[in-house]
Amino acid sequence: MIVRVSELVKLFRARDGGHEFAAVDNVSFELAAGETLGIVGESGCGKSTLARLLVGLLAPSSGVIEIDGRPLEAQQRDRRALARRVQMVFQDPAAALNPRLRVGDTLREVLSVHRLAAGGSEAERRVGELLEMVGLAASHGSRYPHELSGGQKQRVGIARALAVEPGVLVLDEPVSALDVSVRAQVMNLLAELRERLNLTYVFISHDLGMVRKISDRVAVMYLGRIVEAGDWLDVLDAPRHPYTRILADAVPTPDPAAEAGKLLRVAAGEVPNPAAPPPGCVFHPRCPLVEPICRTAEPRLLVTGGRSVACHVAQRAEQPVDAPVPGR
């Protein structure tokens, strides 16, 4: 396993300065090399906090992130080398690049900070190689970000992440800010790089179509918890958790025949404030299948019907197996 996350918790203090709440609550999963885990969920589900924990931009409150079998700890000597194994690509490439630096300088800076190029000419060669790897010409290195299109900027963002030769990329909505006619180019690039460099992806997106295209497994998050996880086809086409079903129905697909009649089918309610989650199952106030037990007892994530589900009702339908880690 290249990444193993066990019982990860991240606490934040509520804005009113009072109590602490879990933005990521007891999340566990494993990723094998070359595999892609899609993470879906709405505002406040904790997917962005999880991304920042994975790349070390935030420190966990408890739980363990292991990379290549070694736990990522705050004080260790080789922390930097270990953390380098996981890199992030951001949603908005314009905001993620320094507008005053030429693209080549942005990449050279990364190489020099991590001492990855012996001299000027080696850095030069590597910058050209990185740009070509993401489908740009070496000559793009002399351009400023504002001289590039949105798709080209995102390619630079990917090149920067690849500069340190990571094993894992955390892709946080990598095509959502791009024009629709450009998204396929960047998705194809990501798929190609995954094959070529044997990369492992955590692909965070609200676009279920793109998640379907690229993911081997999918985890659905709601208010900091994984509520369902499993093989992409099981989770997306035969969801067991009521929230996954509602989400799958809510996201419109580009197929008028399949969409007929869906317009007036509405799930009530909004995502509660993550700082004040409801008792019991956090989804119960919006759940069409709610039962008395859901209001008091939080369901555990258990394997049932071939995937992990945290739902009392779904678990009762089949005999669950106790296996809290949604791995393989």
Binding site: E42, S43, S149, G150, G151, Q152, D179, V180, S181, V182, R183, A184, Q185, M187, N188, A191, E192, H206, G209, M210, R212, K213, L233, D237, I246, L247, D249, A250, V251, P252, T253, P254, D255, P256, A257, A258, E259, K262, L263, L264, R265, V266, A267, A268, E270, V271
Partner: protein, 331 residues
Amino acid sequence: MNGAGQPILLEIDALHVAAESRHRATPIVRGVTVSVREGETVCIVGETGSGKSMTMLAVMGLLPSPPMRVTSGAIRLRGRDLLQLGERELRSIRGREVAMIYQDPMSSLNPLLRVGEQVAEALEAHGVPRGEAYERTLELLGRVGIADPPRSAKSFPHEFSGGMRQRVMIGMALALSPRLLIADEPTTALDATIQQQIMALVRRMQDESGMTVVWITHDLGVVARLAQRVVVMYAGQVVEVGSVRRIFEAPEHPYTKGLLASLPRTTAERTRAPLAQIPGSPPEPASISAGCAFAPRCAHAFARCLEEAPPLEPRADGAAACWLGPGGTAP
């Protein structure tokens, strides 16, 4: 109501809008012609810089001017050219006949004013007597699905979620029962389940009143769920028009075809094959090439496409602007 056979409500005729500076005028909307029938739901699809928002802001008489200015064309609402009206007449049309909702409701709400007060103020501005305005406000908030209207009316906009703010905007837009609602990406910033609530709310309001809806979006899923008719825009022009079924099942324009082909399939089998991609990116308004604006990205472009812009010509169940003949065959 599906609009077919109904009279035309809105007619945009050869509209040109330019961004003007001291030294030059950059064309943003380049000869857009669209007509919308009473009771219809039309989706305008396009990417950044396609001119979709500017076209509809021109209908509202709300172009950000300067630098934007209508340079030629006509916009007729029930036959009356809105471009010939003065600001006073326009103001009475906005709200009563045409209303608009936007992507970011926060920018249209006054952060310092309680929600109920600003809805009531808007009603009063349109002649609802002061005594009635607050009562009407509470009724409106209830209609758009805001829980506990008397209490919610006393909240400030920042105390509301994005979805609730958009509900307030819809309530205000529909307060005077306009004939036409223009929705400019009102759900783009919202989560999927909230987007679905907002789309259903607008449809319910439409079913109650027979209102016409023009919905601007870049999301082809939203189009498939919502639209009866689709207008596809690219680089300031309409490149294709058609019924929603025809656009998705038999697109005529290479841009529409390319967009639809680039979307991931929703079928159970999945191939590792790459998505079909359109090369390049949409042009900046200042650097749109002569001839067909899509030609530099089009796999089928030939000499004529680079020299002469194709006109929008009738095709089965709509129209397309492409030198290739019907079905994409060479002329």
